[in-house]
């Protein structure tokens, strides 16, 4: 079973919830799909057994020995990445989207494409099973490609080690990376917090999730920081037929656990936070979630 933890808004506690869920069983694959800000390895220090170079975007580079400064490439580039500065054609590395069109149309064959080789995919062992994560190089496009590779690798690791549970720590937002994270999985957990911003972002996240038709549930983290807002979130979820599976209290020990390189369920298993996470785990994994279907009347 693949479970993804996403949030819409950043900083609501995705990673803390993922880490807590991942340490409740000794047989999990943990996949960190927040490749733009991968953090899970900081808690678990996995023993890396595999490191792969991920070739993300490519950048156009000019060979000035061949360039005739004709400017044809400038006409074709739709990303405003090419300009003429005192008679010389210059390609901005930051603006180049890597489409390769300039290289293809150049009569002098003066434009080459260079691979950005700074992104990585890692796989290895951690104390509760296998761990897979990606790290996207700065300035890379926020594409789902590396995320797809992380998920693929996680599935392989699960299959070859007889593991059934894959916990995926997802990226924030509602763009391509999130779509790649949740497509085709079994359950989505959306972690939110009681703030106006988070509720707004939750609504947008639910829009994306509802399109997929995948079973999903919501966790309200730090619910006691603003009870009034928590009620509003509950109300919204109720009206939209979304189940809230846990209310997690604000607890300083969540950060203390992180500082000690532990998950909350390892660091303070007897807290309300950890007990609620255990319940979520059982409910989603072992399916003692009761769903009431409407009776059909003929």
């Amino acid at each position: 079973m693949e479970i993804a933890i996403i949030s819409g808004k950043g900083g609501t506690g995705k990673s803390c919830v993922s880490a807590a869920l991942a340490t409740l069983s000794n047989k999990v694959v943990l996949a960190d799909c927040d490749v733009d800000a991968a953090n899970m390895y900081l808690i678990f220090h996995p023993l890396i057994s595999e490191e792969k170079i991920y070739i993300g975007s490519r950048k156009a580079i000019i060979d000035y020995n061949k360039c005739s400064s004709c400017g044809l490439c400038m006409d074709y580039c739709r990303f405003d990445a090419i300009s003429k500065i005192s008679g010389e054609i210059v390609i901005s590395e930051l603006l180049c989207d890597g489409c390769e069109l300039c290289s293809r149309i150049c009569h002098e064959e003066a434009i080459l494409m260079a691979n950005n080789q700074n992104s990585r995919l890692y796989a290895g062992d951690f104390r509760n099973g296998k761990m897979v994560y990606g790290r996207l190089a700065p300035g890379e496009e926020t594409s789902g490609k590396l995320i797809n590779l992380v998920r693929e690798k996680a599935k392989q690791a699960a299959l070859s080690n007889g593991i059934e549970t894959i916990i995926i720590d997802g990226p924030p937002g509602i763009g391509c990376p999130v779509i790649s994270t949740i497509s085709g999985i079994d359950h989505i957990i959306i972690v939110t917090e009681p703030s106006k911003s988070a509720l707004d972002d939750l609504k947008r996240a639910l829009q994306v999730v509802s399109v997929t038709g995948i079973a999903s549930s919501v966790i309200i983290n730090k619910y006691d920081l603003n009870i009034k807002m928590s009620r509003q979130i509950e109300e919204y979820c109720q009206n939209h037929d979304v189940q809230i599976v846990a209310h997690l209290p604000y607890d300083n020990r969540v950060v203390d656990a992180m500082v000690s390189c532990m998950s909350m369920t390892e660091y303070a298993p007897e807290t309300d936070f950890s007990k609620s996470i255990q319940m979520v785990f059982n409910r989603i994994l072992y399916g003692n979630k009761k769903r009431i279907y409407p009776t059909i009347c003929w």
Partner: protein, 303 residues
């Protein structure tokens, strides 16, 4: 304020130009809190200023303000439309597409464009020798411009599209170059972040003193170094986590321009969609002092 220093009417006359980006590697550290409160303080003290919400995936700045929507700019881009009567299924367009946005099964006569993956580079049109590809415009999102009394620009992306960069670019452009422009940046260090901070004279990184916060801060700092951007740091939720961030910032010689303690009362205002500076004169003064020091150092925009 400074009793013998510059009085506020003088500040008004000077009208400095400055683009400052408020960014963070990690999400949820307080970018929006800082951007909205800073903007409000600038308004209170008569600075000509504009707020641009560049977090197109999840824009939240407008929660804190009441403004009139002046205009709404639809942002689209061109994607290919393939005329299957003219198409000879040679596959050259797919070969030219660097984004895997064209799907083709030649013997079955199937060719499809995956519009959300298309970057609108135009390569497929150049590739096609049968004149089978035309373009149509699809919607990426919108840029909202709010005014009265002051300008707020909001970028808003349609869920699930490949990249918000074009929407962000339009929003930043719309802000012009007069006065103090606050760019509330998207999280992370990938493309959307780069396209926001590349326009800034100075970047303020917001972080929290936790291992996750520090790790993501380091990544932001390294990225900004390659872009030759100056940066300073605001520490939010001081009191939680550990002290490692101080040591790192000292080693890197990056100034801390403001520290905000972890406080349930502050969290309460923010979570209700209220501006903290309306409740705490102390924090308001801190914001003013911070922006004054940044204007002094990095003011008079070159962008």
């Amino acid at each position: 304020m400074d009793p013998e220093g510059v009085n506020d009417s003088e500040v008004e006359r000077v009208m400095p130009n400055l683009k400052v980006a408020i960014a963070s590697g990690k999400g949820g550290t307080g970018k929006t809190l800082i951007s909205t409160n800073l903007f409000h303080v600038l308004q209170l003290y008569g600075y000509d200023s504009t707020l641009v919400d560049c977090d197109a995936e999840e824009p939240n700045d407008m929660i804190f303000f009441n403004r009139d929507l002046k205009k709404s700019i639809k942002i689209g881009h061109h994607v290919p439309v393939i005329d299957t009567d003219k198409c000879v299924f040679c596959g050259k367009c797919r070969e030219y597409c660097s984004y895997n946005a064209i799907f083709i099964i030649p013997h079955a006569g199937i060719i499809k464009v995956i519009e959300d993956q298309c970057h609108s580079c135009g390569a497929c049109i150049v590739a096609c020798e049968s004149g089978a590809i035309k373009e149509k415009e699809i919607e990426l999102g919108e840029v909202h411009v709010y005014t009265t009394p002051s300008k707020i620009i909001e970028s808003m992306m349609r869920p699930g599209i490949a990249s918000p960069v074009k929407i962000i670019k339009t929003a930043v452009k719309e802000a012009g170059s007069h006065g103090i422009i606050i760019l509330d940046s998207p999280p992370g260090t990938s493309c959307p972040f780069i396209h926001t901070v590349m326009n800034a004279d100075h970047v303020v990184l917001v972080t929290e003193p936790t291992p996750f916060g520090l790790s993501d801060l380091k990544q932001s700092v390294e990225t900004l170094k390659t872009m030759n951007k100056s940066c300073s740091v605001i520490l939010n939720r001081v009191g939680i986590g550990n002290n490692e961030v101080y040591k790192y910032l000292e080693d890197e010689n990056i100034p801390i321009v403001m520290e905000i303690p972890f406080d349930r009362v502050i969290a309460g205002y923010y979570t209700n969609g209220e501006l903290v500076v309306n409740h705490s004169p102390e924090i308001r003064d801190q914001f003013l002092a911070m922006i004054k020091s940044i204007i002094e150092k990095y003011g008079n925009s070159n962008y």
